[in-house]
Amino acid sequence: AQSVTQPDARVTVSEGASLQLRCKYSYSATPYLFWYVQYPRQGLQLLLKYYSGDPVVQGVNSFEAEFSKSNSSFHLQKASVHWSDSAVYFCALSMDSNNRIFFGDGTQLVVKP
């Protein structure tokens, strides 16, 4: 069975600092991977997605993620965070012919001024 694990429930960083949010997946083949963000009282917005090719994918608002097959990971990164990046971030994967997407439990990002 497939699964997505986000080991950090909450991450706190200072504004301007770099950021890495971790995501590990469990699936025998290469899945389709996504990062979504949820701002307070809002739905989900897609940050970026990986299907194949270059393992480093660029997303919106200067976010990027690196796929690693050997580590079964898809960590989200940003060089310099802004206070407006405070939100809950979800890693997700899709791997079956039914195109179902499964989400991790999310990481709450708090950016301190």
């Binding site: 979504y36 739905g43 989900l44 917005q45 997605k49 299907y51 179902r100 997407i101 499964f102």
Partner: protein
């Protein structure tokens, strides 16, 4: 651009009653619609995946008898929560896509409270 609207945004119902929520895709054809429930702890559960002209596929622990879904065309889907109880509380999100491995666009959700 591709937008998904959900309504109502928030609803309160009495225990044992039912409520219907709607999902509208604007700017694209929603061949496939996925309904999720997000718990107060923020975890997601996939309820069902609906594809036009195909049977709706419900995940384990979710049934058509409890969460009937309608997906009559490429822009609209609705789901009803029948006999709602406290454990049905949460944010119900609709995700729609054109098809295949396309991006899933989400609405802002319908928040269900049960008294």
């Amino acid at each position: 651009g591709a937008l998904v609207y959900q309504y109502p945004r928030r609803t309160i119902c009495k225990s044992g009653t039912s409520m219907r929520m709607e999902c509208q895709a604007v700017g694209f054809q929603a061949t496939s619609v996925a309904w999720y429930r997000q718990s107060p702890q923020k975890t997601f559960e996939l309820i069902a995946l609906s594809t036009v002209n195909s049977a709706i596929k419900y995940e384990q622990n979710f049934t058509q008898e409890k969460f009937p879904i309608s997906h009559p065309n490429l822009s609209f889907s609705s789901m009803t929560v029948l006999n709602a109880y406290l454990e049905d509380r949460g944010l119900y999100l609709c995700g729609a896509r054109v098809g295949g491995w396309d991006t899933l666009y989400f609405g802002a959700g319908t928040r269900l409270s049960v008294l």
